[in-house]
Symmetry: C2
């Protein structure tokens, strides 16, 4: 298929660029970027994500450290750990893999991370900078990865009508702001849709670029897509599938077969936005390292 | 005219409610809310705005203090003053009237204000909280005032299509987020338009609610408005007018005569959004005072 936005290839392209920068950094006598991930408990999804992030760190020459804690860790202990990392000048980026156990206030933990080390872009300060178009902060990894994908394929956003389906804090909201801000991959006219939106189909049919981030498998169908639109699928729901060794497969928010017949470009799931998310995280971590060079 | 959104009346309604709360606060032995405004230099517009804010404070029983500095004040001196106020437990809210002289970094000053006292809602933390739908922060006074106006007139926003023309940090961006978030005056499908938007007329014609915040007098005309739409005019440009004693009059972004013929509700200029902005500021200051009660 010639209309695929191939996240895997693009991700490798950017990873190579990051690896080159790290090489040069190290050959100039500097230490490489160091990302720490805190993993609490035994959630299967979380373990997979953190392992993938560690692997990506190794690939580009970052130092990647996973700190594992049992789900009996207290909130105070976790906060103390975050503060210790905040103060460690040998660590550039810190992510705390969500979800956390119920007895821990996720927002409190997230807001305790030093904004300068918050490479997930979840801190209020980083979200506020994004909303203000101030590029000195960190952008949440998935929206950032999507803009890198758009940039790689030279997809024009300026003056286009982008429709973002979903208004979550980590994807829909930041994505809509990024596409609307005065950026290289911005300046679009952006409509944000969500569960309360009426005539969703009619709105989506206007989109030159559509970003689906609702977490409902196959939600956006071909009939909702304008001929020639660019379709970005953020969904990654695990759906039972006995034909797979794992017993499940990843399912996007877009009904790929009907949508790809309409789209000028479309991201597959898996292999579209997913790899770009990790690349976004690597990009943020490199940026964090450069702050202190 | 029976389709006017009368900001003056609504503002008085909310001011009365605030005044009642202050009375009760004081009769319970607490000090009233205290708002400090820093005014640097001799800008005519700034002086007018700050004077109006002081007057409004007096009206509702707040303590209002204006600190005036010459435009020769250094950045360090101004920052030191902000920090002094941050540490003063008898002051609840601080606003620094913009613009500041060129030798002072406005963003640095704004970000120095303690988020808990930033009743203008300009601090990154307050902007970030807004973007995340976290109501514990402060919302920029104009968008907040507009939501109070919508609330007063029981204007349904949920499921409606709102079009915000303008993406500024203090009006367009926060307004679009507020209308889209899961709030009482939110849950709308929101489109943000700006200078790069193509077919603006076509987009505006879809709006059930249109918010014009571009700063161009008469920019939104009746032909861009759907029959029965709600029209909110944020524009307040001073236009020369010899027939006025001041030599100018305030001009909105909406061409009132043609627009009001179409609109189910419309804000006049002056007397629409303007008074609500000050009421938004008073509301934030009351909220700031309540944090420490």
């Amino acid at each position: 298929m010639d209309n695929l936005l191939d996240g895997k290839t693009v991700s490798n392209h950017f990873k190579q660029r990051i690896a080159d920068e790290v090489s040069e950094m190290v050959s100039n006598g500097h230490r490489p970027p160091h990302l720490v991930a805190i993993l609490v408990g035994e959630d299967g999804g979380s373990k997979t994500y953190v392992a993938a992030k560690e692997k990506a760190c190794n690939l580009v020459g970052f130092t990647g450290t996973i700190l594992r804690y049992p789900d009996t860790i207290t909130q105070d202990e976790l906060i103390a750990k975050v503060e210790e990392i905040n103060n460690d000048t040998e660590i550039d980026g810190l992510i705390v893999q969500l979800p956390l156990p119920n007895h821990i206030d996720e927002n409190l933990v997230t807001q305790t991370i030093l904004p300068e080390k918050d490479v997930d872009g979840f801190h209020d300060i980083n979200m506020g900078k994004l909303a203000k178009g101030d590029n000195s902060g960190y952008i949440s990894a998935t929206p950032l990865g999507i803009t890198m994908l758009l940039e790689y394929y030279n997809i024009e956003t300026s003056g286009k009508h982008a429709v973002v389906v979903g208004r979550s804090n980590i994807v829909g909201r930041p994505m809509s702001i990024l596409l609307s801000n005065s950026n290289k991959t911005g300046n679009a006219t952006v409509t944000v849709c969500h569960s309360r939106t009426k005539n969703l189909k009619e709105v989506c049919l206007q989109a030159d670029i559509i970003v689906a981030a609702v977490g409902i498998p196959g939600f956006v169908k071909g009939g909702m897509i304008k001929e020639g639109a660019v379709v970005i699928d953020v969904g990654t729901t695990r759906v039972d599938d006995d034909t797979k060794k794992a017993g499940w497969r990843l399912c996007g928010d877009v009904d790929f077969d009907t949508a790809s017949a309409k789209a000028s470009f479309i991201t597959p799931v898996p292999g579209g936005v997913g790899p770009m998310t990790i690349t976004g995280l690597l990009n943020n971590t490199l940026k964090a390292r450069k702050r202190t060079l």
